[in-house]
């Protein structure tokens, strides 16, 4: 593979006239467009934030740079891209009660009590709980929650966002009683007498969330800044935003207008109507120096595995008679995908269960007949895929937008939900690549931490932070370290039609890079997880620095 190197070398021979910044003396590394590692010791970029050259150690530095910085040999890599996150969800979670670290119901109740005592808000809002992690064997109840906070309404979303836990006051405010029927695509958990017990699943959540006061624009501004700080500190320089609402968009615009938008947001509107309201007749241009674009539409084919909302081909192993929920009929899904595609929006469909994945693949097959240009259909999560359906990903250039850490978080639950014999197409990263799918990795924050180093380490080990299970869960599906890196950089960029701007370091692309405290290509998996980002640069500007 000499060709890429020579092409690069040719560019290096001519120090460009526009260059005015040089970050030098680095242990620099990036992937090239063929997935090969390219190394360099200096990076030159112009005032417009784009890279003009990568320099090797022997190469002459241009004499006329406006400024330069010596990094003392530290490691420099491209900024990481999260292929699937919820920007404002992260921000709001950072300002709310976070139960994601709790390992028992009692610990959670204690935390709720403390938070309620120190936050005199009208509602107590939060999330992050996971009854599996508590080893509760059932959902928690409103009565239990009343014990921690009985006067003010409380609403706490499950870690995956597909269920919520209310106290009695909140249920009363929403008017949810034994007489309330389960809405389409949703379920109210009930006792034997039919009385709601406090947890609302998927489509039933809206019965309650509709009575929660909206976040004010001021709160949204604060949430935005909190999320951005978090992402930059972890080395994420660009992120897909899955389900951008009109209010989210207005928040991003306010930040962009005030020059406070540092991270790049690749927006996927929450539905066709939101996309049209925001962007009109087609995707927006890149805004604020390639920092914001509304390019696609996020749709939902099903729910999640934890709450048994994922739509399966066969019954849940641990809930016979249940197959989960398909959110849309085949015609409805097709109709929404056509409405978005007609106006040139990219389509990204959430599909977790094998039945849901099949439905979306069917729709893509139909649409690929009409839309023969480069559409980059995305399936979000693609967690449980019937092995028969795997080859269909490659066939239409479909992007599998997956989240490595879901595999380590979910594996026990997946085994329980599916049983041992239906795990062949589960979290099947390597099979996806072998079947020609394009892979984009992300975290699904705030469902999981946005930490991309944990994601990358997982991608080539299939072991969790504790090294469990030893040797990896279904290790036949591991990627190489470089493949995992690619999915968090070039792959995630490609998945958003942004490969000409971000994802790797090369002349003409944005100078989005990180200074790290270690070399991620040499670190052990546990060392890679412990990576500390020292500096985060976006478009040639230092956007974040460790204090």
């Amino acid at each position: 593979m000499l060709a890429p190197f020579f092409a690069l070398a040719a560019l290096l021979l001519t120090p460009p006239a526009l260059a005015d910044g040089l970050v030098d003396n680095v242990n620099g590394m990036t992937l090239d467009e063929n997935g090969q590692v390219v190394r360099f010791t200096g990076i030159l970029f112009a005032r417009d934030g784009r890279i003009t050259a990568l320099l090797n150690s022997g190469q002459k530095r241009p004499k006329k740079v406006e400024w330069k910085m010596d990094m003392g040999g530290k490691t420099l890599v491209p900024g990481m891209i999260d292929g699937h996150g919820h920007f404002m969800g992260l921000g709001q979670q950072l300002l709310m009660l976070d139960l994601s670290a709790t390992t028992s119901l009692d610990a959670a109740l204690g935390k709720i009590r403390d938070y309620a005592a120190s936050n005199p808000t009208k509602w107590v809002l939060g999330g992050g709980w996971n009854q599996e992690k508590w080893q509760l064997g059932r959902f928690p109840t409103a009565a239990e929650l009343d014990g921690a906070e009985g006067e003010r309404p409380v609403w706490l979303e499950r870690v995956d966002g597909h269920a919520g836990w209310a106290n009695s006051r909140a249920l009363a405010l929403a008017g949810i009683t034994a007489a309330t029927k389960d809405p389409a695509g949703g379920r109210i958990e009930r006792d034997k007498a039919g009385k709601p017990t406090g947890v609302l699943v998927d489509g039933a959540m809206a019965l309650l969330t509709k009575v929660i006061p909206h976040a004010t624009p001021r709160e949204r501004n604060s949430a935005f800044l909190a999320a951005q700080e978090r992402l930059l500190s972890l080395g994420i320089t660009a992120t897909a935003d899955m389900g951008t609402s009109v209010e989210d968009w207005l928040t991003y615009r306010r930040m962009g207008d005030l020059d406070l938008l540092k991270v790049r947001i690749l927006g996927y509107a929450g539905g066709v109507d939101a996309a049209l309201t925001i962007a009109g007749q087609g995707p927006t241009p890149w805004l604020y120096g390639d920092r914001l674009k509304l390019g696609g539409i996020k749709l939902y084919a099903d729910g999640a595995l934890g709450s048994r909302g994922a739509w399966l081909k066969a019954d849940y192993a641990d809930a016979p008679g249940q197959k989960g929920l398909g959110f849309l009929s085949d015609d409805q899904l097709l109709n929404l995908m056509i409405r978005g595609s007609m106006d040139g929006f990219q389509i990204a469909v959430h599909a977790i269960g094998d039945r849901a994945n099949q439905q979306v693949l069917d729709a893509i097959e139909v649409l690929s007949d009409t839309y023969k240009d480069d559409r980059r259909w995305r399936i979000e999560h693609a967690q449980i895929v019937d092995p028969k359906d795997l080859p269909r990903f490659g066939k239409f250039g479909t992007i599998a937008s997956m989240q490595p850490v879901h595999q380590t978080s979910d594996r026990m639950m997946a085994e329980a939900r599916l049983g041992p014999d239906r795990l062949k197409g589960a979290y099947a990263w390597r099979s996806m690549l072998q079947n020609g799918a394009k892979l984009a990795f992300g975290s699904d924050y705030p469902v999981e931490s946005p930490d991309p180093w944990a994601g990358w380490a997982t991608s080539f080990t299939r072991m969790d932070a504790e090294g469990q299970p030893f040797g990896g869960w279904r290790p036949e599906e591991v990627l190489t370290r470089e493949q995992g890196w690619a999915a968090f950089t070039t792959g995630a960029a490609y998945a958003a039609f942004a490969e000409g701007k971000i994802g790797r370091l090369a002349p003409g692309l944005q100078a989005d890079f990180l200074i790290l405290d270690r070399d991620p290509l040499l670190a052990t998996p546990s060392d890679l997880r412990a990576t500390k980002v020292l500096e985060t640069w976006v478009g040639g500007n230092r956007a974040w620095q460790r204090k």
Copy 2:
């Protein structure tokens, strides 16, 4: 008054380095910041669209300009500013049925029939009718409208936007029957039996408009472009937009993002919530090269005179027992003004009747105690003011944002509504100035035509296009020609905190100017009304040219 000339002359001595455009050989004129006329024969501006110098005939031209244009002695004036318009309303009106030229009910019904036949839309929508102009002596009825279009629903707004006329199908779709009660701040016109006759006034309009399908973003884009073309063709380079909605704002953003926004829009959000949703914690910055800003909030204290919705101190002369409608209690108005002011938004309150004007002045008096900085409280229309209240305008630097053409359109109606003895503070432009109010002129388009030349001609004649009434209506309230011009330029700029950017031609300000076919300072009033704009320049770019 030599000082301003000398200050200008000093600036002219140094041809600036940045200048790269020269429009030369013009009959140039502008007001200066003291309202004096300044003349010049050349205008130099930089690449950023700002003026670098005005040049006199004897003065040397710089040798190194990137381009120049010889205007052959044509007249050049600053762009006109409309201090009060409804941008998207104009655009939508331009795409809808326009009854504003009809002079009888029969002519209107014919036009409705023709339009319905050639527009296969789900609803027949339009506006511009005025039963006064039809000399009908009453409102038109649903039954009459049914004769023109009985199958599809029809909804036609009155010229002032304060009443609407529905056919029976539309009333049925909205569920408006004899049993429907008049909502607060609104009135359903009824026959003796209480049956709705087809016209809904002010607050009652929403009973019907809520069932009309929203304009799609695509239709909004088209409406925007139609409105912009109209304004530029009339020589309007900047306009206040009174009542900007979130969807309006998103439309302006789409246009700005695509570099299709040419005219400058000074946005006043339709209420506090819209302002916060759009702009968050305070006014937006100037966007797109000073072409867009959300700086204020529009509120309503009352309705309009035509529909007897204006709130008067005494009974309507032609409707004893009626005083019109105050939309808000004193506390409500004050509360909304405080909520907006707290976040630094400018407040503009619609007040037409003398009682409404008093209410707003009372509120301003209270608020001026708290907000001692430069707030520029605006009263929109300020049509009928109790002479006792006139001095209160000047006292707190209040801006009277008025529309000269309303005076000529309304004078007969105003005489009928108020009787001969209560006209002393009606459309009292000169008294406003004498009492220290700041005057900003506009058209209230699409209620009136946005044509600023008609407005300017009216301002110093108080005669209409036919020269009626000879000598002017209450001629003691005429302005000088220069005062009228100022209200459409420097005054309207000041009213939007934009006097440092637009409103006159001077170094440092935006090169927003017009090439005209005549000299507006020498033209007779009827010649001034016939002014043809040949070219409209915004920010140093030719944004429109007559074909």
